[in-house]
């Protein structure tokens, strides 16, 4: 939480009130250099190189190949800016790439580019928090440019492997198929995060049903917050992939369309799962509150039983503890035992009465 808000503050300080279109990085400080990889491939060949001096050597995209420029790290404004200039990317696109606070969105820049912002989610076991990574994908005529916030987790590693090994349809496909593969990968990741979430929720569910504890309320609250965070990352994707599915752009071939529909389908499925967890959290919350009421009832019954049994007995003891000179019972040699006897009987009667009223 504190981290999240530190970032927002930065955003406000750096970005608001500057002239729109002015490029500025918004996000956490990163000590690592940006790494830019260029991958060229078609059905026959596959070639990968690291682009070192961005300002001097701009890779030109080979017309006959599918080109993939993978940018690891968006914190070096000058690199992003030079890539932007070279490939004629719109300033607002670059602004969104640099703003790691930007929510997922789809933008069309004329017929040249389709631009998608997504959030890569990862569950950090150490600090028990979901971490979000900013990912931007630009689809052009025969190229894809992918921007990633930091390369802590090698997000697109699997695709590199698949391309190299020529597994599946990936290498036969054009830029739009690559674009789809990258989207698919990000969304597959959500399953993993949601699974982690569901494990924690079910643990808590069993605990609360069996033996609720005051702290559980806070744990439930934290899970609800995590779920809200996940949902925030995924919800906009419904509209984004819904729109891509109905897309009429020349950048996306009809044959790729059915794959995008599949991604859309996965997004819907994920959202439904999230909704059902939301409802589940609400229900667990209800169970928790009801069990509190039940406990209170049980505590109150204990109190009432003790009070109702011992109060009359203490009263009787008090009566025979009075110091009146003339109290005939006191002189009765068996008075004490009769009194003890009545006390036992009264106690038993009340006990049975409360037993019958389900108080004990």
């Amino acid at each position: 939480m504190p981290k999240h808000h530190r970032k927002v503050k930065k955003y406000v300080q750096k970005k608001a009130f500057t002239s729109p279109g002015t490029l500025a990085y918004v996000g956490k400080e990163v000590p690592i250099d940006t790494v830019v990889k260029l991958v060229e491939f078609n059905e026959e060949m596959y070639q990968q190189k690291i682009v070192r001096v961005m300002s001097e050597c701009h890779p030109d995209f080979n017309e006959n190949h599918t080109n993939w420029l993978d940018v690891d790290g968006v914190h070096e404004v000058s690199i992003i800016e030079s890539i932007g200039k070279h490939y004629h990317l719109h300033p607002l696109l670059l602004e969104d790439v640099l703003n790691t606070e930007q929510k997922p969105k789809l933008e069309h820049f004329g017929e040249h580019n389709i631009f998608v912002i997504m959030k890569m989610l990862q569950y950090n076991e150490l600090i028990n928090e979901i971490e979000s990574e900013h990912v931007g994908l630009v689809l052009g005529k025969n190229y894809v440019i992918s921007f990633q916030e930091v390369h802590k987790s090698d997000v697109f590693g699997a695709i590199f492997e698949r391309l190299k090994a020529s597994v599946g349809k990936t290498r036969k496909g054009k830029a739009d198929y690559l674009f789809y593969s990258l989207c698919d990968l990000v969304i597959d990741n959500y399953y993993v995060v949601i699974e982690k979430f569901s494990e924690k929720l079910e643990e808590l569910e069993i605990k609360i049903i069996e033996n609720p504890h005051p702290n559980d309320q806070t744990l439930l609250y934290e899970l609800r917050r995590s779920l809200m965070q996940i949902r925030k990352a995924i919800l906009p994707l419904r509209d984004i992939f819904g729109a891509l599915t109905r897309e009429d752009s020349q950048l996306i071939q009809p044959s790729t369309n059915i794959y995008l529909r599949d991604v859309y389908d996965h997004v819907l499925q994920t959202l439904e799962t999230i909704e059902s967890y939301r409802e589940m959290i609400e229900n667990i919350q209800n169970i928790y509150l009801t069990s509190l009421s039940n406990k209170m009832n049980s505590v109150m019954k204990t109190l009432t039983v003790f009070t109702a049994i011992f109060m009359p007995l203490t009263f009787i003891a008090g009566v025979y503890g009075m110091n009146f000179e003339n109290m005939p019972e006191l002189r009765n040699p068996h008075g004490y035992f009769y009194t003890l006897g009545s006390m036992v009987i009264i106690g038993i009667v009340f006990w049975v009465y409360f037993k019958w009223k389900k108080y004990v």
Copy 2:
């Protein structure tokens, strides 16, 4: 519950991050072999055979007949794959057939196939749980291919019987009418499951209204979960059959349209019933909570009555138990009886007062 999540885990482990289009079975392990039946019929004839060696003998669909390929079991990837190859089914279709976690959906594959995924629900009395079975239906030009998760329950048995016996319109109909009949059967099943559900809910309702118990909250929670599970299976069918009703495909004849509208109607009706049960559960929950409050009130009143009656009496007894040398009342020969009398009167006065305040 645990079962459900074990499956999701499998999905994540097996499926996420593999190249899209790679076929893999996602679901429970099944020790039984897949059985493939081929039924050919038209108004005059009916013929049924079991297709044993899929890899060698591919059944070709007879142009003049309606063909129905019924696949019992989707866990043998090679069989599904070979069926897919032979009938030119799209890889994504096969992927959905193999993924028993796939939620219900409708997919068009060009003009060749309409593909529907549904969930068959069954109430398992033994473990008191609703079991879900994965069903996939492919409608082609003159054929229907049906995939079922396992053939534990002979889901489509009734249709076989009806075709053999030439009862009803089923045999006169073409592939689209057969397709409709299969859908109709699955949806008829929901009535049975919902009826089971409603029986349990009404039992609990009566119990909670008459005599709520702390455990009832958990029972109610479990029913709510079951209802959510049923709803999850049926909700997507609204869109699916809504779309099929407005379908303009050549695969569905106008005369079949009115039948699909009828199925759509049943789905809507079922969803409405589910909604009303949802609301009912919420209301029962409210009754439960209110009755807890009412009980608490009643316990508190008992406590208050006991305390308020015996506290003053004990106090009086305490006063006359003091050991002051000069306490004139103590020497009064009737003091003891006067005191006892006042105690009785005070007790009665408080009792009447609390009676009047509706405490007892």
Copy 3:
């Protein structure tokens, strides 16, 4: 309630899994015979006869008249079937007529028939329950066929009277105007039921605001259920009459359209009233719960006041009841009276304190 569910069971047993299009009655057993009336009228004449032997004598509709076939009772499948055959009604239409569980719906069967299912509601004072009656209306070129579940209440009696007496526009109108009149009648009935409901709700409202009782929760719950039942019957009519209003069918003349819009308007108004009662019930529920809390608070305050006043006094009495040999106060001749005096003062001080804290 039990009745409702008995019916669903019947439905499941009889209907589910039979071949679609197979006709079967779904509903309560009825010992009375079906009565079929044929009314022919135009501006000049009015003629009414009872059609006895359906299988032999099929009434043909007179081209120059408006014909109205009124079928009282839908439990005799053979009669419904023979009517269906004679007038070329679609099998699914007949299926819906026979299924008294069918929710309200509008169906077009080509250009020949507009078919509407509605629910007639009636408040049964004896068993304090709302009873629902199944009504089906078929509009054809110059005829209307009306099906009613049983003729316990002579639902359409008013229309017969009006036609005979030639009151209002009814007799001048064509089949579509008759169709409208019948719909209007059913909807007018809802006002009566809702009025009954509102009377009961207001009684309960006043009772709960003035003096809530544990049972009121159950009464409120039953009213909520009744309201849900009414809403279920009326909600689909919004879409049905909305669609009829925009209808472009040759069966409905433009001049009748404005009347259907009026019916639509009444449906909307009724639904709004229902919504406001729903909200009212929720608010009464809140009042009820809050008044429980208020009562609890008041009980607790009583308890606290008694405890807090008498505990210290009893303690003081206890102190002077101790048997130490050297307790100087005990020998003071006025000690007893001083002590009693202090007790009175302490009691008054606490009383004033709690008065000031609004505990008493």
Copy 4:
């Protein structure tokens, strides 16, 4: 409340089940005669007369003037009927004019008339209730007919004044501008009612936040009911003026359109205000409930502190009040004072402990 329901009953008794189109007044009995005023004006002249004998002298609308027929009182069916006949108003329009229970609506009767029903709201300080007045406006080619339930409040007085004094655009405008002016007036009135409402709500809000009282719940409930009543009158106007804004009728000039849009805007603003008050009431309700819980907590703490301090002390006193022959402490000459001292110490220790636990 009772008034409201008396009216509904009348409606049911008089109106339901009569032939549609039969005219009948539905509403409160009014002892005053209907007054019909005819105003003719254009930019140059202004003329106003009272039309006394409706049946004999029908005013004809002057083609060159804008004509306004203002009908105060809709309870005399014959007058409404004769107006209707003379100006060819549709029977359903007259039915709606006579039915003071009719909710707001917009109706087009061909190209001849646009008909709007609205509710004039007024806050009656005496009985602390919002009163609703039925207003119907008919826009024709060069005339407006306005119907008002009773002329208790001279609803349209301001417009008469404005026309006479030739203030603003009103007199230059045609019938459609007059029509707009009347609508605008009714909606301006809502601001006044809502302001009254907001005053009462804020009073209650401050009271509940500072010092909640059991009765406040009922007051809040009544405010909620008032708000629902206001909302019910205004909500349909959103659709009505939304439709009028998009209106393509020849009766409304394009230049008037922008004014209707302004009215539409006011309606939206009013509805938003109502929504925010709704949310505010809900929040106040929450505060109220929470403060009940807080009070309960505080009462319980007081009880616990008293019990926990005096119970052990009374116990100690009880111990030394026992009559054993051999109790060495009793013979100690300072035993009494030691005991008193320990009691004070124990009392202080508990007090400090509960102070530390924030119980006191």
Copy 5:
């Protein structure tokens, strides 16, 4: 709050019931004079002057420049009126400019003007309240007219600076780009206000989770009110900028469209943030209530433990304080010590029992 309602009252008093189109200022009294600045600029030049005597010297807009008339203060009706006359602004536009209660809206006045009303929000640290400022923007062919409520905060100062210094695209842009820049500035401001809000909310969140206090409920309520106020200012902007994005007006160039889409995007993002804070407040509210219940439970347990341990002990002491002549235990020389011992044992047993039941 009081301020807000004082304003509404003024509105009602001044504005309602006057002829529509009559100009009147609605808002707080302002002692400062209105300041009107005229800025003319194009890519080469920038010129700024203060327009002093509005009635005599009307600035004409230079055709070759982009002209910006900035009006600080809308309380002097005559100035607004004269500007309106000179630039042919519609009377309804001026009415909206003068009404500081007017909610945000977008209005088209033919092809000549696009008019937007927005609310500038500012957090006033002194009175801990969000202040709202009325801003109106008129876009014409080559000019923008901006109206601001008061110039307490120099709202558009940053734009002046940017234009002077020729930073960014602002000066190259035409009137539509300036219009966009002003909108963007207002919306950037919301980030600042929301950040302030979020800081306060998180403080309260931590406080409530760790140690809830009765007052926190009121603080939470105030935050909820602030959030509602912010939401009220921003929600209409969604529709406004959504519409501007789809705008087909000649006043907005296609190249500016993408910038407006960016603003639209920011509005959506802000609304989402607001929604998530809303949900967060609700959850905190739940935590608060649950912690109240938990506390109550803990208080009740303390009470029960004290009562249940000391009641039996006091009873035993009472028994041996009875004055029967024949009580054999009393004469036992060790009776006292045996009794004390049993008391200790009973106390320990109960203590352990409650420890086991998690009461202490």
